[in-house]
Symmetry: C2
Subunit: 504 residues, 2 copies
């Protein structure tokens, strides 16, 4: 962490923590005492010239104050937090001199091409890890998140390249990464019955259940535990979890491995694996939003136990923001939440379809790497999207990681469509179409009612009530008429109302 | 420009403009009134808790205050300054859908590979131009400088790839960019005599001079004009200009096109082209450091003439920092300035050697593109290096563009060494070796004298004088003894001395 960042973070405190990505920034990178030593008090008094901004600030405050943890940081700056740009440049130069001048270049063009590409990627990572823009997260180290940002860029460029190849070339291209790839997958048999107690099998009538108890159970659990930490909302997690089972039902005519027994869908997946994962996730979220965020330098801690605890806590977040998605609060948030759920489900489907069209065996390490990648970038992206939504103005940028994750999800989907349009276009069963149609109609009509019809009704009622009050108030002296109108419409705009009171 | 940036810029003002890259940042991206409306006064009063930081700040001030222009900005925010992250993402998606799904993919693997690489680069530029970290410059638009940053990344990765190929493959690889490349350059005849007035030629005895009056004369002039704007220092420009002619003398046994007539070296190049270029550059620098930096929104200007003037001024810097390199002030700055001159000359030499080893004809458009590229990134890089040097602490990062330019220069040089070690290793004539040896010895001994011997001498004198004063002061009452010691050593530390006075 460098000085300018910490300055920015101190400002985040001055301006009452506006909905800006800086508030999880550390000021670890600076020993500047203006940052440590509770800058709250040092810089707080807003002078009269700052009227309008103070109003904006407190509006931000209202929506944010309760969802954010307070942070105390003694601003100790260790070696690991200093900038090492020149050091990295020097080491890079030395490595390049050694590899390219002192080692003999092999005469194999293919090998050199591969080596050149790998070297380019490594140099890009060197640059990015030292120099890329910091995201909202800073624990265990900002460089860790810069690394994953750069990996996203490389992955997205790889996907774009694959997208521009013919289907045959694209599949064969995977051979460059692993010679075992580029081979059509064998057809799998997903037959069998769905009896929980199978009397036909004399050796073990419960075999159907034991069959399902494979490595995917802890994987599902862990996956949903992490997803809960990413989404930070019980309702959204449950909706996505259930929606995905519906998607599996709807798409089992395209990908046979989506077809599962009913109890596998609802009991094993939704209830047991996902449910427990979400439950554990929510417990962790509770702990994270309650735990004290006190960052002391390791050398300022007297006891060994404290030191070890501090080291372990380095792997917990620097501060915490509870997500309050509030989808029903306005149309923009509602559409945004729908969009997030859509993209989330699309990314989940891509996992399966991409394997299918690029002929990747499910147990291949690239599949696992992709998941590890998404675990790391997903959290950052979701936080950036939340910050972006939370911003009352449109000036803010969508965070870089969120931008990339969106681009990656779209590119992956385009690859799926391009590489296997036939599977994607397989006619959907009539019953499934009906269900989806019904669902979409329901959502649309709720949207219409909530954000258009209800609004008009409320406004009408509000106007009528006001009119009545004006006629009733006529005799009384003019004063705080505004306060006496706790109408439905004002309740909707509750925040701005109370703001005006705060200011006065 | 986005909100957080503008916040940062307002802080730069609050904390008395520390030597941080933010001070050329616009607050254009924000209509937040806390930023406009002279935040100097709104937030200035430093409370007692900020003691130490105030001291640091004023030290920064002392070195910076006189070299920086004052900026007035009404903070008007136009469409062009808003973030367009989501728009860019949407357009990108549409283009990808069109190109990859609606157009038929050609069956030509080579063509597709090229197309895939170009598409990856374009997507990277899309990402970078909207999302990369901003540098110190903001006019005409921050996206312009983000674009060049991304181009640097692409260029550096290209160079790394070329570096890892065999010499043959690397030269043939250029064919993918332009099929005319990858062909050995014809030997050129650089013979002829050096007579200014050539009586042997009866038609035109001045032909030698007219021969030199080609497109390179305005190119040299323009080049040095821009270099002066980049370096912003008369002395450094002259030293680099003269040094380069010495390098041409020293290396003409390697690259024949370095051999020129003596009057071509010293009169045409150094005096006429470079000299006039530097002169014009210094005049422009004077204007830039004097001109008022008042930024009004286009719609706030009443007259048409004013509007047009404002539009033209969009292409001038947002604010101005006079560079004061002060190489003799301390060892670190001295070594840094030597390093900068070294890297600058290396980059200039690379222009010629790279053409030579990669078989690029001098008139090829890639050669010109490389120069345009360096013109654009050089200014940013130099400013970042200046900021980095100016920082009293070591916490600051070397700017991203400076990092990349350094990496590019090194990589280019490594390519030259790898691709043609024979030419580089051609034995240097004895006379030339002697001259360089002498030069290096002179620099080393000056360094030794200036930063080690002179320092020790001054310290010794200082100690002696103090001793004498103490014996002289013995009778007088103890008071402001410190103030009465304007010794040589204190003069060296003049800044910190005067600081202590400022504080008290």
């Amino acid at each position: 962490m460098t000085k300018p960042d910490s300055k920015r973070s101190s400002v985040a405190l001055v301006t009452g923590k506006p909905a800006n990505a800086a508030e999880e920034q550390v000021n670890n990178g600076s020993s500047d005492p203006s940052v440590s030593g509770s800058p709250h008090h040092a810089l707080t008094p807003p002078t009269p010239t700052k009227h309008k901004s103070a109003k904006q600030v407190s509006r931000d405050n209202l929506s944010r104050r309760n969802t954010e943890s307070e942070v105390f940081d003694d601003g100790t700056n260790t070696f690991f937090w200093r900038a090492h740009t020149v050091t990295v440049l020097f080491i890079l130069t030395c490595v390049l001199v050694y590899v390219t001048l002192l080692e003999e270049t092999p005469q194999d063009t293919t090998y050199n091409t591969k080596r050149g590409i790998v070297a380019s990627i490594l140099v890009f990572l060197c640059f990015g890890v030292t120099q890329a823009k910091d995201g909202p997260f800073t624990r265990p180290h900002p460089a860790y998140w810069r690394f994953w940002l750069c990996v996203s860029v490389v992955y997205e460029l790889f996907l774009i390249f694959v997208l521009f190849q013919t289907v045959r070339d694209g599949r064969q291209f995977m051979k460059y990464i692993d010679p075992k790839l580029g081979v059509a997958l064998p057809e799998r048999d997903y037959g069998g019955n769905c009896l929980i107690y199978d009397p036909g099998n004399t050796t073990d009538p419960w075999h159907n259940i034991w069959d399902k108890m494979d490595g995917f159970v802890p994987a599902h659990f862990l996956g949903w535990y992490i997803k809960t930490l990413v989404i930070r909302d019980w309702w959204m997690c449950m909706i996505i979890s259930v929606m995905f089972e519906f998607l599996e039902y709807s798409l089992e005519h395209q990908l046979p491995n989506f077809s599962e027994c009913w109890w596998d869908h609802w009991i094993m997946d939704v209830l047991v694996c996902n449910g427990l994962g979400i439950y554990a996730g929510m417990k962790t979220l509770g702990w994270l939003s309650m735990k004290p965020y006190q960052w002391q330098g390791l050398w300022n801690i007297p006891t060994y136990k404290g030191k070890i605890k501090r080291m372990a806590f380095q792997f917990t977040p620097y501060s915490w923001v509870k997500f309050e998605w509030k989808p029903a609060s306005n149309l923009r948030r509602w559409l945004a939440v729908l969009g997030i759920i859509f993209m989330f489900l699309l990314a989940e489907l891509n996992t399966f379809y991409l394997k299918f069209v690029l002929w990747m065996p499910p147990e291949h390490y690239l599949v696992l790497l992709r998941l590890v990648f998404f675990v790391n970038v997903g959290g950052v992206a979701m936080r950036e999207i939340y910050d972006f939504m939370d911003d009352p103005k449109f000036y803010r940028k969508l965070g870089q990681q969120a931008w990339l994750v969106a681009a990656i999800t779209v590119t992956e989907f385009l690859i799926v469509v391009k590489y296997d349009p036939r599977t994607i276009m397989l006619p959907i069963p009539f019953f499934v179409t009906q269900c989806w149609f019904l669902g979409i109609v329901l959502i649309l009509s709720w949207t219409l009612w909530r954000f258009f019809i209800r609004d008009i009704t409320l406004r009408y009622k509000d106007a009528r009530r006001r009119k009545q009050e004006v006629t009733g108030d006529c005799g009384r002296p003019h004063g705080n008429g505004g306060t006496a109108t706790p109408s439905g419409r004002s309740k909707l705009n509750g925040i701005s109302e109370s703001l005006r009171h705060r200011k006065s």
